[in-house]
Amino acid sequence: MKLNLKIWRQKNNKSKGMIHDYVLDGVEEDMSFLEMLDYLNNKLLNEGKEPVAFDHDCREGICGSCSLFINGVAHGPEKGTTTCQLHMRKFKDGETVYVEPFRAKAFPVIKDLIVDRSSFDRIQQAGAYISVNTSGNTQDANSIPIPKQNADEAFNAATCIGCGACVASCKNSSAMLFTSAKVSQFSLLPQGQVERESRVLNMVNQMDLEGFGACTNTGACEAQCPKGISVKNIARMNREYIMANVKK
């Protein structure tokens, strides 16, 4: 099949970017979206041109490296799918496809479609952990039973891959879904109780410092999250945050 690609190219953080047009013939249905870009890059390289830069690594939908805003949607048209797992059979022959980077002030563009998501790391560093040393004699893993429902809910929150689709899809570039997923995971588990209050206060504080917007509860994040993280986590974080402030 043949595609009209409109891809954002930007040399670096300082320069201004713009859309470049590429007509790509010979795209196969079984290609993943990233393989389609590989194919384009191979063509560009054979013409002696610089390839399009994009983030990717595991290509199994779990590492969270790949991003891309495809035709106005984070990770493209298929629900619950990362760009690397999106296949070209979801597109029509002759279709025009816009490919843009995830845009947010807190995600500055590094090059072309690659953005800097280190703000996410800093949010996690602010408190997304349980302070336990690796002594080798922490108590036995089965000494605290955890109700299956809590364990499952914590797990569902923990499946966040940190790709940033929630920020990209949000009209306010809010990182609430990302932050709340981690806050939820730990607040649901008995191990997370000791640092429960300081954790949510510090993480939200860092989230605000990074320049993410406020949550307007539109739900775009949940709809475009490749892992289907629920906005119920945001409600939980709001609760945790308010309670932590009351207790403080």
Binding site: P51, R59, N142, K148, A158
Partner: protein, 742 residues
């Protein structure tokens, strides 16, 4: 700087005088040799050396104290001690911990450690070292340490907890791992791994890793290939992700404390050796393209495996051998490079433009039955789409694993299952257009579960539709996310039609040679996780990779490294102004600059794909002498072609993915050659290494314990062939037996 260059380092002087570095150090301490300290490192002025040039004045002649000495535990030709402690197997590790040197908390603050890689091994090591008080610098090429490829591990992690009460124990885990590894791993290391396995689960749960639980709130277990107990802990199909995020959170805590400095989007390009010790690295900032010098008292390589030498593998696109290969070229031995695991259940290759392969968890083999048609006419019709697999009658199907291995059936170890699939496909029974696919069929399981459900619910057990519906629900509960993934990739519904699978490169058991302390043959340079060779022998059992990565990082390296660093407490900061750093940086620069300047026309991937094809066809699931020889010469030719014709656009000091890729492929090309050489040298079949010349009449692997019961450790030689050293393996607790899963 010029003045410093005229001075000798301890390493230079030792080599020059043909004595050990320890001897030189002793003479410096006694004042017989004059030395100045520059950046925490001894520098010996030329005039102090001159007197030794006259043999009559030599004060060093009665020196028998060699760092490198012969040891009765290893072969005469193996020049390093493996440092396995004495005593009974089950006491070795605790004895060792009791006896090794420690560094006091006050002194740990003065010591820097570099960790390259942030997968399970790297992240857990970084976090634990920082907890202990060392200053850690942690490097990864990804944009965040959370993205390392450990995250993609699906199935689970083994631990000898015996929560199911099915007779599991440390010894059984140890035994299974040694046997599963086809008796090519170092016993003492494996035993230690089994011992600390239980601590890992405790630690992870304490960190908040959400393992699967049963309705009583206790941890659940599942069973994996090659063993007879349920000892695998899991978090749905995302165990690797949850464990890595646990280690990542432990790291974040230390980053927040200021004990870890994170360098993301950085790639290690050179190891810096000062006075024979690893003292730093040269890393390239992948965003700015600038080369950076980083100094430390020890360097830990946790950069994972080298499966991407095959181009198509289940590894991440960025997974590479560069860090491990660079230390190999600086003196670290590389062990058993040909031991590669080919995973039996991956989604088959669909086309020329495929960039990577996707694994379907081994847990599927618990319920899936593997088959191909019995008749070639059926195969032909299936490929031409004239026949659907579901149309083929039970008696016309060949469940070849159940036929060949009745005891373990579809749950034979990975190497056995992979080879059996290849055997059928080579014989012409492959069921897709490339002829490289077999069926993994869940229909029997659907019916079995459906009947069970109907029975417990008191419904009609003869209603076929109802049974199928109920059975599919159970299958969905167990493997829903995997089935979904399969459908996304192949556009086929695995509930209705059997999955197509084929083996693919998945894990590399070989790696950098390390001693019991996980130190390589370069003092102060360590290798942990998949990057080292030590625990899995010739074949790794399912759910053991996560266990080994975390064992090395959380519970082994942080203690054994103290033994080495205890002598470094007075060294002080290592300066990056040392000439060794300058030389290493120049080496790295020259290499990269070569690619930028090269006037080639072919992209890097062109060569990588070609290399992959040679490796897969000639060094893949089964190997023979002729093809290995061909592979070696083909890789040599490809390497020449690569340096002549590779095209890398852009600039060096800029974001440049093609440049990074070129550097990695250059190293893969060198590794590929060593890989083939190692496979050629090992004239036996064991685990993942199958030599066609060495098989039984039934086509099973034939091990040769008399001649090949050793670890092949290869020494890099500049401008000549690599040198093979053999570390003979001794089995004290487990008897050498031929592996049988029949």
């Amino acid at each position: 700087m010029d003045k410093d260059l005229k001075m000798f380092s301890i390493g230079d002087l030792a080599e020059f005088l043909n004595v050990s570095q320890k001897t030189i150090r002793r003479h410096i301490n006694s004042g017989k040799i004059e030395s100045k300290k520059v950046g925490g490192v001894h520098r010996i002025p030329i005039h102090s050396v001159r007197k030794f040039l006259n043999p009559n004045e030599s004060i060093l002649e009665n020196d028998f104290d060699r760092d490198i000495n012969m040891d009765n535990k290893t072969s005469q030709s193996f020049p390093f001690q493996n440092k396995v402690p004495d005593g009974p197997m089950e006491q070795k590790w605790s004895n060792h911990k009791r006896n090794i040197n420690l560094v006091s908390p006050a002194n740990k603050r003065l010591i820097d450690v570099i960790v390259v890689g942030t997968g399970l091994a790297g992240a857990s090591a970084s976090a634990t070292l920082a907890e202990l008080g060392y200053n850690v610098k942690s490097f990864c090429f990804q944009d965040s340490s959370r993205r390392a490829h450990s995250i993609a591990a699906q199935g689970g992690i083994n631990a000898a907890k015996n929560y199911q009460g099915d007779g599991d124990s440390v010894y059984r885990l140890f035994y299974d791992t040694v046997k599963g590894g086809d008796y090519r791993s170092r016993e003492a290391n494996v035993h230690r791994l089994a011992e600390v396995s239980t601590n890992i689960i405790d630690q992870c749960v304490a960190q908040g890793v959400p393992f699967a639980r049963d309705y009583g709130g206790l941890l659940d277990n599942r069973s994996f290939g090659g063993v007879l107990v349920s000892r695998t802990f899991y978090a749905k199909g995302q165990t690797g992700q949850q464990l890595l995020l646990g280690a990542y959170s432990a790291m974040n805590r230390q980053v927040n404390r200021g004990k870890i400095k994170m360098y993301t989007r950085h790639e290690m390009l050179e190891l810096v050796i000062v006075d024979g010790k690893a003292r730093g690295i040269i890393a390239r900032n992948l965003v700015s393209g600038k080369l950076e010098r980083h100094a430390a008292h020890a360097v830990v390589i946790a950069s994972g495996g080298y499966g991407n030498v095959f181009f198509l593998s289940t590894n991440a696109m960025g997974s590479n051998v560069t860090a491990a290969w660079k230390i190999h070229k600086k003196g670290a031995y590389f062990a058993n490079p040909c031991f590669t695991q080919i995973h039996p259940t991956c989604i088959p290759v669909s086309g020329e433009n495929q960039s990577k392969l996707t694994l379907m968890s081994e847990s599927l083999r618990n319920d899936g039955r593997i088959w191909v048609p019995k008749n070639k006419t059926d195969v032909k019709k299936i490929i031409e789409k004239k026949l659907k697999p579901t149309d083929i009658k039970e008696e016309d199907r060949d469940y070849y694993l159940e036929r060949r291995y009745p005891a373990f059936g579809n749950l034979v170890p990975r190497d056995v299952a992979s080879r059996a699939a290849k055997e059928r496909c080579d014989a012409g029974y492959g069921v897709n257009k490339t002829g490289e696919a077999v069926y993994l069929d869940f229909y029997s399981a659907i019916i079995r579960y459906g009947k069970e459900q109907a029975h417990t619910k008191g419904l009609d057990e003869n209603n076929k539709e109802l049974i199928e519906k109920l059975g599919k629900e159970i299958i969905k509960q167990k493997y829903g996310n995997l089935f979904e993934m399969y459908e996304k990739i192949t556009d086929e519904n695995p509930y209705e039609t059997p999955m197509m699978i084929y083996p693919a490169v998945h894990y590399t058991m070989g790696g950098v040679w390390v001693d019991y302390n996980l130190m390589t043959t370069i003092p102060g340079c360590y290798a942990i996780g998949e990057a080292n060779f030590s625990d899995h022998g010739a074949n790794r059992l399912g759910a053991s990779a996560l266990m080994q990565g975390l064992a090395d990082g959380y519970f082994v390296l942080p203690y054994t490294i103290g033994d080495y660093l205890s002598s470094d407490i007075r060294t002080g900061k290592i300066s990056t102004d040392l000439p060794e750093f300058e030389v290493a940086e120049k080496e790295a620069f020259d290499k990269l600059n070569y690619f930028i300047q090269n006037k080639g026309s072919k992209p890097v991937d062109y060569f990588h794909k070609k290399l992959g094809r040679i490796m897969w066809n000639k060094c893949g699931m089964s190997r023979n002498k002729d093809e290995l020889l061909e592979a070696i010469s083909e890789i040599k030719k490809l390497k020449e072609d690569f340096y002549k014709n590779v095209f890398v656009p852009g600039e060096l000091f800029d974001f440049n993915e093609e440049l990074a890729k070129a550097g990695r492929v250059a190293d893969f090309l060198e590794l590929g050659e060593l890989f083939a050489k190692d496979a050629l040298e090992r004239e036996e079949s064991c685990g993942g290494h199958f030599r066609e010349e060495h098989q039984t009449k039934e086509g099973e692997a034939l091990r040769d314990d008399e001649n090949y019961n050793f670890v092949s450790a290869w020494q890099f030689k500049e401008n000549s062939e690599p040198m093979l050293h053999k570390e003979i393996l001794k089995f004290e607790s487990v008897k050498l037996k031929s592996r049988s899963y029949k």
